[in-house]
């Protein structure tokens, strides 16, 4: 196969990954790594390098719209980025000492967990009493809904911060945005309305991924020959996905895709256990 054909196939694959990532809410990176390793037989370290780039592109591209609508809680994002960036740097360091097969198995587990998270019941209720820390850190805010501004308050800030630290480590170690864990921290632990937690999580992913990507770039994980089709493909796919989401009901699609992704994740785990990476 020559470079031209390889690049075009990769571009198409990345487009599909971006599309699925956007439709399922999992993000492009998470789907990209199994695609690159299982289908293209790319070494998982190269896959992690370009997946981080895809996460940054996705997050930064989508954030603009959400910020415009005033849903993103920028203070909360900033505060939690202390945890995710510190975790991401730690994760990128940890990656040196972690065997690639262990990374593949972990990725499979996180993938299954993420798929399960996207189909669970969502927390939409806006809490009216916050914890002490939420006032101290000025994290309580409001967001626009079709029926007007709704104000919300946060609970268990310290617990959420702790989960964010883990999300950061996984993000640095596996090269993914780990949006599912971020939403878990905000949604289930700090009791933030779903819309705010997803957009704020998306807002944070770019910074988290950049913190570990600078380490991976210097370590030689990011190859230009793969970087350009992957970044362009994922961005294109995510853009199409966002358009499609406004006029199709994604609920059924989401369940089908999540089931498919669980199979892919099982294959990652199986191959990891058999030392295939």
């Amino acid at each position: 196969m020559n470079i031209l054909i390889f690049s075009l196939i990769l571009l198409a694959g990345a487009y599909v990954a971006g599309l699925l990532g956007s439709l399922t809410g999992l993000g492009g990176g998470v789907i990209l790594i199994p695609l690159l390793t299982l289908v293209f037989h790319v070494d998982i370290r190269y896959a992690i390098g370009v997946a981080l780039l895809a996460s940054i592109a996705n997050s930064s591209g989508a954030a603009t719209a959400y910020i415009k609508e005033g849903i993103t809680n920028i203070r909360l994002g900033m505060f939690l980025e202390i945890a995710t960036t510190a975790g991401a740097v730690g994760g990128a360091l940890l990656a040196i000492f972690t065997p690639v097969n262990t990374i593949a198995i972990l990725l499979g587990v996180v993938l299954i967990f993420s798929a399960a998270m996207t189909i669970r019941k969502k927390h939409e209720h806006a809490e009216q009493t916050g914890s002490k820390l939420s006032y101290l850190l000025k994290l309580n805010s409001s967001y626009p809904t079709p029926t007007g501004e709704v104000s919300y308050k946060l609970k268990n800030v310290a617990g959420g911060f702790g989960i964010m630290l883990i999300a950061g480590v996984l993000s640095g170690l596996l090269g993914i945005g780990s949006g599912a864990l971020k939403v878990l921290a905000m949604d289930s632990t700090m009791r933030i309305p779903f819309k705010v937690s997803t957009t704020t999580s998306n807002f944070m992913i770019g910074v988290t991924a950049a913190a570990s990507a600078v380490v991976y770039l210097q370590r030689g994980y990011i190859d230009p020959g793969m970087a350009f089709p992957v970044v362009l493909g994922v961005l294109g796919g995510a853009f199409t996905g966002a358009r499609l989401l406004t006029f199709i009901n994604a609920r059924t699609l989401r369940i089908i895709f999540c089931a498919a992704i669980t199979f892919v994740a099982l294959e990652m785990i199986y191959n990891g256990l058999n030392h295939q990476f």
Partner: protein
Amino acid sequence: MNIFKKMLGDRDIELLIGKQLRTGVVTASCIALLGGIFYLVQQGAASVPDYSHFKGEGAEYTSFRGIFHGVAAGSATEFIQLGVLVLLATPILRIFFSLIAFALEKDRLYVFITTLVLGIILFSMFGGLKI
């Protein structure tokens, strides 16, 4: 300071940050696209490098000096890496903007928090963590 504050309200800065993020991604994609086209024109017919075994990229793709040197010499792959650099710089630049925003609001707590995040990222960039 007050004039600035009037000109740039809280909301305006948020919108500015949003715009900056999009501009960064669009710029990075355009550079990557251009570099990619050059790369395919020059080397499209060559066979695919072996990606199934990790070797790690050399200094030409992993350091500022290497990347800029290659861009100056007109190399397509370094041009793509320049796009990668722009992409990586986008969220980092966003933190700078947030820092300015919080400083204008005289929100000391968040100036501190933002500086801390920036410090972690800069440490990760220049702390020699590549090993």
